[in-house]
Subunit: 335 residues, 3 copies
């Protein structure tokens, strides 16, 4: 454009800087499917609040490092730059950045591994999306899940990552404590279910995240709330581990499934809502199942149950729409 | 047709009812690849005989519930209705219906989970078939295997599913008892190998199943018999766990592989028969291998070994036919 | 050709025999991507040296049997004979032939299973390549890895395979011994990293392999050396198990990744070299991670980490070449 030619050098590079910040913040937002820097900023604020509240500030800084290096990784290698502008380069890396300082000791070796892993997720995402393109689904947060699993498994073998904050390996799961089901406590568990999407154990962070979602999409905020609530109800009904319920660990995957199915990959209507509620229920059981798979290793499932359940409910390619408002499946992760 | 217009309302709805029963029974038959309601009826009779003989009548009723709700699930959502008419909606669900009451306590929570899981298998089958369509194979009974694994793993974490009838988790397998290899006992093990396709531990049920197969396809009955016998011989030769052999637990996957390769996906001839015998042998080793994979969880392999081995022997797409009688690979599971 | 018509019967069959030997030896060479009978011969010599040095001569003979029966298996069934001529039928089978006598007792049952497994890998390779063809990668040594895993898992359940030389199953890995990091010892570990590609624990064998590689491709020899060295440095830095490092068990997968990425699937240039160095680092962490996955079973990872890491770094389909020397991705494993 003619005007752009005349802007001064300084303006241009400060514009570039703000663009870079915007795309990077969108990476935070895309973890819950929102292409919005403001949403991303609120998510980041929530992560920092929670990480300082829980006495693990390195988790907040890990998130910052993770989202920056993974976004950079996308621009280093040739690819579709529009994906970077939508924040699709950074959403796996920010989760790596939250997970590494949560489970591994705060040493320089951990930070080296964090950077390597976060950058790799961006490239692996391109590869996984290539694999899944014929199936008309994308890799969701699985690049984060897969690569982080590999490094956490590796932490079981490498003295350089000790002492970890991982659970002890054991053959059978133990149910610990009893659950306080007073209304106030239920609200806390419900909000923590949302906060745990970024591995944060703080109900205040859950509020940050819901507000961040609402800024960009009220439907997404509603579905996040519904997903966490439905999973909480099922966890209580089927008697899941009380301490896991109280930390929101049965909530985060259903929250993501709810946003994915309820208002991202399907248009909002009654039939897609019913489908989403079923998908959230199945996510709950897959969460419990994958917990058991990981028990002998003492490793977390991360958002694996969300990926598996969402794939299961997208792969049949059912359409829940009248021909009038035929689905536009092209949003997010154009493969 | 003109005649149909003139039939009375009552006739029409009773016809619809009998059609529904027919399609549902075909679901039972399709577990062993037979599109026949009579075969399905004999399979169901065998399941009931065995479940009452073993003192677990809920297994029989679980099979009925499973096949009905999974067939319904197929008709609820848009799809190719001809698949339902061939019984392809119900064959995963009936296996879910046999497995849940076998391994989980007979409570209302179990029945809720059974219905959810059985219905989901029908949808998941559509998704898995979409995934596998480019490879020219279909998902076989893997929707049942995958979803049931998830719920059984979940049962390790959820107090609502206790006490389970699952094995104890342990790091190493134990060989228990000694094997009576008199001819009469060998026949019993061999028949139980067939019966365990539906998780039934009864040699009489094995006879029901062989007769049911013969009603629809003599080749299928012969291959079922051969598959169970070959696996039994290998299990004795390679010294598998005596109590597993005696319960037919090394037979059911080879039985299915034998029917699948021997007379379903390949036409019957000498070369395909040799290929099938090799496939059955490999199924035996994969059965033993997957038993070991599941040992730390105390979970059954279900028909997973059959799926894996059959895929391995279909994926190379070898043709064993003269150009004259070129294979028609279109039977069962038109993708 | 006219001349060929006139050669005597004897000449023709001796030519056929030497061709068969050549194609079979190329099978050994293709384990490290070299279509050269001379390279294969040196690899085989290295295996024999190591197997006699370590007092397990059956490993050398297993390699011979494995490469022969798997090459035969390819010719028994219809297929693209040019693959056999390139040695692509035998490279999985020779690894099966090294692995079985290494981990299982030297009994006739083991040899029966070795032959069945080695032959099956050739067919499974065709199937896996069909699966992966749309993704533009091939199955690498995964047919060997997958089938051998199944038989080694099975060995945990089958008395006929006892006593195995597999590790004890345990919930947590133990770091044993201390590492002598004098220069001479480091060279030994580094050479053993190359030797372990064929499961051989001998530094002399490592020299055989490097020389064999250099005969066919100096780039491959250099990358093998670099891959083993980089993995050794990372293993020491991140404090991996000293006895595993000393046996070269952190080296063999990175060696293969280095040859695959550095000079086989990408042309040699600066950018592909950087990509390869990153890929080798990721292979190291995946090696450690898969070690941990296998710990509760006491099973080896085989070359699984190489396959996984190499796929991860091929699937994004990044191009590191100027348009002038556009990559020819058609080498090895034409799908």
């Amino acid at each position: 454009m003619a005007e752009q030619v005349t802007i001064s050098k300084t303006d241009s590079s400060s514009k570039n800087f703000f663009d870079a910040v915007k795309y990077t913040l969108r990476g935070a937002g895309q973890v819950m499917f929102q292409e919005s820097a403001w949403t991303g900023l609120l998510f980041l604020a929530g992560i920092f609040w929670g990480s300082y509240e829980c006495g693990v500030p390195q988790v907040g800084w890990g998130a910052v490092v993770g989202v920056i290096v993974s976004t950079l990784a996308g621009y280093i290698l040739p690819g579709d730059a529009s994906q970077g502008q939508q924040g699709l380069y950074g959403f796996n890396g920010i989760l790596v950045g939250c997970a590494f300082p949560t489970f591994l000791p705060d040493t320089w070796l951990m930070w080296v591994a964090l950077v390597l892993c976060a950058m790799t997720t961006t490239w692996v995402r391109t590869g996984f999306n290539n694999v899944m393109a014929p199936w008309k689904v994308n890799s969701l947060t699985f690049p984060f899940v897969f690569m982080t699993w590999m490094f956490l498994f590796a932490a079981r073998e490498l003295g350089g990552f000790e002492p970890t904050s991982l659970s002890d390996a054991s053959l059978t799961a133990t149910l610990s404590g009893t659950l306080d089901t007073s209304f106030g406590h239920l609200v806390v568990y419900w909000l923590k279910g949302v906060a745990q999407v970024f591995l944060v154990n703080s109900w205040v962070t859950g509020i940050f995240f819901l507000v961040g979602l609402a800024l960009c999409s009220r439907a997404a905020a509603v579905w996040a709330a519904v997903g966490s609530a439905e999973a909480l109800a099922l966890a209580i009904l089927f008697k899941a581990d009380p301490s896991s319920i109280a930390s929101g660990l049965y909530g985060f995957s259903p929250v993501l499934t709810a946003i994915a199915l309820g208002c991202t990959f399907y248009k909002v209507n009654v039939r897609s809502a019913v489908w989403t509620l079923v998908g959230v229920a199945v996510t709950f059981f897959i969460q419990a199942g994958m917990n058991a798979v990981m028990t002998p290793y003492g490793l977390p499932t991360l958002t694996g149950p969300f990926c598996v359940a969402t794939w299961l409910f997208l792969l049949p390619r059912f359409s829940f729409e009248s021909t009038a408002d035929k689905a536009d499946h092209s949003f997010w992760g154009k493969l």
